[in-house]
Amino acid sequence: MRVLIAEDDDETAGYIERGLVELGHAVIRAVDGDEALAFGINDSFDMIVLDRMMPKREGLDVVRKLRGAGVKAPIILLTAKGGIADRVDGLDVGADDYLVKPFAFPELIARINALSRRAPVSDPAIRIEVGDVVLDLLRRKVTRSGQAVLMQHREFALLELLMRNAGKPVTRKMFLEQVWGFHFDPQTNIVESHLSRLRAKLREGFADDPIETLRGLGYRMRNDD
């Protein structure tokens, strides 16, 4: 994957770059807003990671201009500002995700993975199949090896997020943001409790658990293909 990283802080940019290169991605770095815009328009990327506050041109403006120029690549905004209004602004101009600094590198990777997979799925799929688990989005039904599994609305949403990202980690924050719409982290482990119920339902009558826990990071749907 070709990733553009626009971040004026050398240390942060280097840290992200090293991590991504280790994972086998090609990374191009831009040091200010103008450069990010020039690279973004003239080159083609699979993913753009933009710092919101950059010299010469604000991140929001870069996103607006890139979208205006018809750039379709997913954009993740990084920001030190986690304010409520800031986040809305970021998504309004056309960014796909918004990550508040400081963040753990695996969190960023999880977001990048989720976004890079979202693109093909964004056409109205009515059925997602991972291993022996099948999600019928139209009828809101779940089956495992053809056997119906009764799910609550929220459990269904959790499973959908996991299955859309099959084989990739989904973090606690991603669950909270995308299933609950919470951009804060309650001290009570609501994600864990709901997932353990979801897993119990999926496991009933089977030997194996299609979902695995990634300690300190989140969860992953096993993808044996």
């Binding site: 409520i84 001290q187 300690r215």
Partner: protein
């Protein structure tokens, strides 16, 4: 000390004095002019009437007698007379001038003291081509004119003097009153924030300004104290996790668990900062822009539904009672976090087996959100402090948390124009949030 020229008080006084003085001067000029015109008119009238009366005398003898009598008897002390014969020779009267033409004239004549004077003369022709002249002594009028001028000049000087003295006194007084404010400002600049403007008992303009300034200073002092308190609290509360983090780094070589613990401690620190920033954001104001109509019943239902499994997993009982269609104006995420923090708080600070209840209803025209538990409760002295930043009751020192959850609740409630009260649930603790209901 400002110079007299730059003093507002003195400038006001000088301006007042100038305005008064010039008014007096203008008034004097007008009075002088009016009086002068009126005198001239009166004088002409007197002369004409006298001529008229005398010219109506039928006989020569009677006229001479009249003239002689008038000059002698001083009937009109200010009038002088002259009767000229056909040849223009003065035959009666003491007025020493050449025979004037009929009508009123100003004629230069030698006065009694021998100096030339401009006198007013009226003349009329009599039978036999004789001519009668009546003149008025000019000194009377000019004496009155002079008196008027002198009077007004004296008034002018008097007003100038009074204004100057008044101005000096006013200036001194203003300076004296302003000195209280200046002294206070100076004292505060040098660091004594406790100083206040002295306020008199009369409640005049200066006292009103003084009161306002004092209120402002009280507010600033309060904010500064709050800030000082918060920064020292932050410094204090950050030390603990930082020290733990440092101690943990020493054990980094001891395996994967130690490394994980370092990450957790780092996360804890970050959470603390996020909490502080969140509160600052909410307290900073300007969130009203993001406010919209929120179906609080639905939102509280979602939060309760989300928390229920986790609360039950940890051994608590959880029950919620929600009146449908409760609408408020607010920010969805902040209201969700408010409820989440209340439930977090109830869970963390109560033992296993405690029942937690959330209720939402319209009560007396307002929206009442209540989270109660039947746990050990909180000592009465500590209840109000629960809402303060970083406050942690003595027996909760060992439980997780950073003492920010409920202060965020308080900040969110304030931002939504509501109130929050901490009550004894007997047994247990009840936190009651009252929010204004949605109105269009």
């Amino acid at each position: 000390m400002t110079s007299v020229r730059s003093s507002v008080a003195y400038r006001i006084a000088v301006t007042c004095a100038a305005v008064f003085a010039w008014s007096i001067l203008a008034l004097g000029a007008v009075v002088y002019f009016v009086v002068d015109v009126e005198f001239a008119h009166q004088r002409d009238l007197t002369i004409t009437q006298e001529l008229d009366r005398l010219s109506r005398e039928p006989s020569e003898t009677e006229l001479l007698r009249q003239l002689g009598g008038r000059e002698e008897g001083r009937l009109h002390s200010r009038l002088d007379y002259a009767l000229f014969d056909r040849a223009g020779k003065r035959v009666a009267g003491s007025l020493d001038i050449a025979p004037p033409m009929p009508g009123l004239h100003d004629i230069s004549a030698r006065g009694a003291d021998g100096k030339p004077d401009l006198i007013r003369v009226g003349a009329v022709g009599l039978a036999g081509d004789r001519r009668l002249a009546v003149a008025m002594d000019p000194r009377t009028t000019s004496r009155i004119d002079t008196m008027i001028l002198q009077l007004f000049l004296a008034a002018f000087v008097g007003v100038l003097t009074i204004c100057a003295i008044g101005g000096l006194i006013l200036g001194r007084y203003l300076r004296y009153r302003l000195k209280g404010i200046t002294a206070t400002a100076d004292a505060i600049v040098t660091g004594d924030i406790e100083w206040r403007v002295p306020v008199g008992p009369r409640g005049d303009e200066f006292d009103v300004v003084g009161c306002s300034v004092n209120q402002m200073l009280d507010r600033i002092a309060g904010l500064m104290e709050n800030l000082r308190q918060v920064s020292s609290d932050i410094a204090h509360d950050l030390r603990k996790p930082l020290i733990r983090l440092l101690l943990q780094t020493d054990r980094l070589g001891e395996g994967k668990g130690a490394q994980q613990r370092v990450v957790e401690l780092g996360d804890e620190l970050l959470m603390l900062f996020s909490g502080i920033l969140r509160i600052a954001e909410v307290e900073g104001g300007g969130l009203e822009r993001s406010f919209e109509q929120i179906d609080l019943s639905m939102l509280m239902g979602e939060v309760s539904d989300s928390f229920a499994p986790a609360l039950v997993d940890e051994g608590h009982l959880f029950d919620w009672t929600i009146e449908p269609d409760v609408l408020v104006k607010g920010n969805r995420e902040l209201l969700a976090q408010l409820a989440a923090n209340l439930l977090d708080n109830a869970r963390i600070h109560t033992p296993v087996g405690t029942a937690i209840a959330l209720s939402l209803a319209y009560v007396g025209g307002a929206v009442r959100l209540c989270v109660a538990d039947n746990g050990p409760g909180v000592a009465e002295a500590d209840r109000e402090k629960l809402l303060q930043r970083f406050f942690r009751a003595e027996d909760s020192r060992t439980t997780p948390g950073n003492g920010l959850g409920l202060s965020l609740v308080a900040a969110v409630v304030r931002a939504h124009g509501g109130t929050v009260v901490v009550e004894d649930a007997g047994p247990g603790l009840r936190i009651v949030v009252t929010l204004p209901r949605w109105s269009t």
